[in-house]
């Protein structure tokens, strides 16, 4: 992994929000890397800090109340946190693009879609308006919208088509990294299937790296090479999709898998994780998952679990399960789902 | 009421609870203090006023504030302080009752129009639009003229003339609340329309009602002054803040205190009501609890 140059390398990132109720620790000492052309799934529940991390990369943390308390975000070897607002504006939408969850509100309702794409192109490229509009039509066709519809307004499109337009805007300037924040959550399953298919296709055509933020483990299985599971502002498990899905190691990951009803199996009762996400203004000491964890031992409530590599490229922040893993049948690889 | 085993359960929002939370809000408490003080003045005006409000003394006219006459005297030599104290009776009544009438009627029509919608809404709101299209002072004059002069007729006239504004505001809030799922949820357990409006919809549009009505008190006092001025309201020599204000206008260059003091009285009243209203609004909103 070290021999390839990293596209994104987040080191020890901490992001906090100061609120009346206290300091919200949205992201806590997060470490994450992404290689060129890689697709990373970023999984966690509401409030786990997925979107905050993405906004941190984009330099869009609202300040106040948010502050990046600590850490570095290296993008192509340069620390984004040291860039000026002007430099960030060039990077945003240029080299790094983001797709938001709700296509209904991320488009300007009084501007035709081709103009919205062209605007993006004009911002980041030295081209004429005519060229930008041509590029817009090209992009629309790439995402499967006929060029006759280029002069339509957003309200004339359905939800799935709007999300296609949003994707077209994001890809208009050939970004190196695309961050998609729950891009299909607001869509129906059959439309979601269309959009995912489109994203697959686009991946083959253009070599953009992707960070897919989602709570849907199914989408990650389909779209991503690597997965990071986030809990209460930290990455608790990070591995290749294959390793994580076949050999989940962290108790939280295991709980997540157990919470989803399996479409191919009958189960009377779901094995649930007891309790609730911790209060982000008052995180438990030690491992923040320990109050809900069935495997917790005394030291979990006092010691912060380090990330350990349990097999090549498979990192877990749980020493207890690491012990289990080592003791389980040698080499065969610990805990089977 | 309380269960034996569990924490005390509140049934309906308790008055005691509201008082306890209101006490923590210093501005609201200040407002309440002023309002209570004004009401005290109004009740005991005959005892605490240093002079009779109708006592004329033409030799002493246009006296600047002094030891004998703290707020000075007017063109007939009447003591302004005494007139303000007596005036609080009329002005507070006019302000509060007229606004009360507007809130009750406006609330009723607005809530019915917004909740039922359709033809009823159209009928009520077009009626309100007709009233709105007439300047409210003109409307008040027309109503007062047809009812005849007098304190109570004037309050009714002022109250009715501003009803459409309240109806509009309340209808707007009701309209947006009507579509909320909790209204449907109340229907699903068998709640009647009256209960839904009283318990679920109106409490949730309290904020705009309170803001509008505290401001409304000021304009009601001034409208009432206008009516009195053209002889449809309070007849002289009964003192009333609005009338004192307009009466003193002629002398504003030379004897500014004649308008300053009644003006201050109105301003302090509105400010106090505003503080109290804002405090109440916050206390009644559970989201702002603690």
């Amino acid at each position: 992994m070290e021999n390839k140059k990293l596209l994104l390398d987040i080191q020890d990132l901490s992001i906090q929000y100061d609120t009346e109720g206290g300091t919200v620790h949205a992201v806590e000492h997060l470490n994450l890397t992404l290689e060129h052309g890689e697709n990373l799934g970023f999984v966690g529940e509401t409030g786990a800090g997925k979107t905050t991390t993405a906004l941190g990369i984009m330099g869009l943390i609202p300040n106040p109340p948010g502050i990046i308390a600590d850490g570095k975000i290296f993008f192509e070897g340069e620390d984004l946190l040291k860039k000026s607002e002007r430099q960030m504006r060039d990077i945003r939408g240029g080299k790094i693009a983001m797709i938001f969850q709700d296509p209904m509100t991320s488009l300007n309702p009084v501007m035709t879609v081709d103009k919205q794409i062209a605007e993006m192109v004009l911002l980041h490229n030295d081209v004429s308006e005519q060229q930008a509009l041509e590029r817009a039509v090209e992009m629309l066709e790439m995402v499967g919208i006929k060029k006759e519809r280029a002069h339509d307004f957003p309200h004339q499109f359905s939800g799935g088509m709007k999300q296609r337009v949003v994707i077209a805007i994001a890809l208009a300037c050939n970004p190196i990294l695309l961050i998609a924040d729950e891009p299909t959550t607001a869509l129906d399953v059959t439309i979601q299937a269309q959009v995912l298919e489109l994203m697959h296709e686009l991946r083959r055509k253009i070599n953009t790296s992707l960070i897919m933020i989602t709570h849907d483990l199914g989408i990650v299985a389909e779209m991503c090479d690597k997965v990071a599971i986030m809990y209460a502002g930290r990455v608790v498990e990070y591995a290749s999709t294959e390793a994580l899905y076949n050999r989940p190691a962290h108790p939280y990951t295991e709980g997540l898998f157990n919470s989803i009803p399996d479409i191919d199996r009958d189960e009377e009762e779901l094995k649930v994780i007891q309790g609730l996400l911790p209060d982000p203004t008052n995180l438990p000491s030690g491992c923040s998952f320990h109050p809900r964890c069935p495997y917790a031992i005394d030291s979990c409530s006092s010691d912060m679990p380090p990330m350990v590599e349990i097999e090549a490229g498979h990192f877990v922040a749980c020493p207890v399960r690491f012990e289990h893993w080592k003791n389980a049948a040698d080499g065969n690889g610990g805990v089977k789902r | 009421m309380s269960g034996n085993t569990a924490p005390r359960m509140k049934s309906e929002a308790g008055l005691l609870d509201i008082w306890r939370r209101l006490r923590k809000n210093p501005l609201a408490m200040f407002g309440l203090f002023i309002v209570v003080l004004l009401i005290f003045f109004a009740i005991t005006a005959d005892v605490i006023a240093p002079y009779k409000y109708y006592e004329q003394n033409l030799i002493n006219s246009f006296q600047s504030p002094s030891k004998e006459h703290l707020f000075g005297t007017d063109e007939f030599g009447r003591d302004i302080l005494s007139r303000i104290i007596h005036g609080s009776r009329i002005s507070l009544q006019v302000g509060l009752i007229a606004v009360g009438i507007s809130v009750i009627f406006g609330g009723f029509f607005g809530a019915v129009a917004g909740y039922y919608g359709g033809r009823i809404d159209n009928l009520i709101m077009r009626g309100m639009d007709i009233l709105l299209s007439i300047p409210s002072i003109l409307l008040a004059i027309a109503i007062a003229a047809s009812l005849g002069p007098g304190l109570y007729n004037m309050m009714v006239a002022v109250g009715i003339s501003t009803t459409p504004q309240y109806a509009r505001i309340i209808r707007g809030s009701v309209l947006s609340l009507r579509g909320q799922e909790f209204v449907e949820a109340a229907k699903a357990v068998g709640s009647s329309d009256t209960r839904i409006i009283m318990k679920h919809i109106l409490p949730n549009c309290l904020a705009p009602i309170i803001v509008q009505s505290t401001l409304g008190v000021a304009s009601a006092i001034l409208t009432a002054a206008g009516l009195s001025f053209i002889g449809l309201g309070i007849q002289p020599p009964t003192p009333e803040w609005g009338a004192m204000l307009s009466g003193g206008r002629e002398y504003i260059r030379d004897y500014a205190y004649m308008t300053v003091f009644p003006g201050l009285a109105i301003m302090i009243t509105i400010l106090a009501l505003n503080f109290l209203g804002d405090g109440l609004r916050d206390v009644l909103d559970p989201k702002l609890k603690r």
Partner: protein, 327 residues
């Protein structure tokens, strides 16, 4: 279908149309089915297919345009408003959004007390508060939360309040309108388990409305698939997932992302979007997106027919599809 099962709810030719500026919106269009006592009927479909409207019309939160909803054999759509008020105790609903379905100005105890107060179930306040605490216990809400307000609680707990409200009057039949869609997976699993154990304990009959097929499969005994106001397929959950007959069901099932690596199914990607339910054309509602479409589909609306006992499909080519799909 189990021959011993007693039909609790029977829906016949139910229609619900809405007047809109663009024309008549056919939200529920001639739907008929029956539900047995103690079972869970899953109602799936994409947004705008009319599943929530159907759920609301069934318990008369919305008035039907025509048709019958028989509860133990009596058509409740014909009930007077006073009789319907009595009826409300026996049919209940849990709403999708635990944020907007609770009045923000009421405390937990007041929210749960409302059905009891409105229907004057208890004469004394102390009996009522006993019942409130009992209900809170049933749905797994801690006693200390009685005086909390909805905004202080998380989505899962709020949804438990919604469930407690619907249980307060001891209903027989509960419409669950997307009860877990707004919740995170872990909380979703907790609520699903709760609903399941309540059904076992009290023998409730559920209609479970959802767009999430894996959730529907987990909770349902039988499943009805809706498309543009019509039921296109209805069957027990096992056969529906093993051998979907209607082309739409097939596409829907193939579209679910599976949380397992290397299990990507052959997707049937549907063209286009769900058409508008306003003044729908003659013929099969699905014809515009169907990959088996023939001429007849444009001319004749396929009826929901029983192909095998307990399995009904509304497709002209259902029999052929059985053969081609049989594994």
């Amino acid at each position: 279908m189990n021959p011993n099962a007693k039909t609790i709810v029977e829906v016949n030719n139910l229609k619900k149309y809405f007047h809109t500026k663009k024309g008549m919106l056919h939200a529920v269009d001639d739907v008929s089915f029956a539900i047995n006592k103690g079972e869970t009927l899953g109602l799936v479909g994409e947004s705008g297919c009319g599943k929530s409207t159907l759920g609301r019309v069934m318990i008369r939160l919305l008035e039907a345009t025509s048709g019958e909803v028989k509860f133990w054999g009596n058509d409740i759509l014909k009930y007077s408003s006073s009789k319907m008020k009595e009826m409300r105790k026996r049919v209940q609903i849990v709403f999708q959004d635990p944020y907007s379905s609770l009045n923000p100005r009421l405390a937990v105890s007041e929210l749960i007390a409302e059905p009891l107060l409105v229907n004057k179930v208890f004469r004394s306040a102390s009996e009522r508060s006993k019942k409130i605490l009992e209900l809170m216990d049933t749905v797994g809400l801690a006693k200390r939360l009685v005086n909390s307000y909805p905004h202080e609680l998380d989505g899962g707990r709020r949804q438990r309040i919604g469930i407690a409200r619907s249980l307060a009057l001891s209903p027989e039949f509960i419409v669950l309108d997307e009860p877990v869609s707004a919740l995170d997976v872990c909380i979703q699993a907790q609520v699903l388990n709760l609903l399941n154990s309540l059904q076992k304990q009290f023998g409730y009959t559920y209609v479970f409305i959802s767009h999430n097929l894996s959730v529907v499969k987990h909770v349902s005994d039988r499943i009805a698939v809706m498309y543009l106001g019509k039921i296109v397929e209805m069957s027990d959950y096992q056969s529906l997932f093993k051998e979907p007959l209607h082309p739409y069901t097939q596409a829907l099932l193939s579209a679910i992302p599976i949380a397992r690596v290397g299990q990507k199914r052959d997707r049937l990607i549907l063209e286009g979007d769900v058409p508008s339910p306003i003044e729908p054309p003659e013929g099969c509602r699905f014809q515009g997106r169907c990959f088996y479409r023939q001429d007849i589909c444009k001319e004749k609306t396929p009826e929901l027919r029983e192909l095998e006992p307990g399995r009904s499909v509304a497709c002209h080519f259902a029999r052929q599809l059985v053969r081609t799909n049989g594994r």
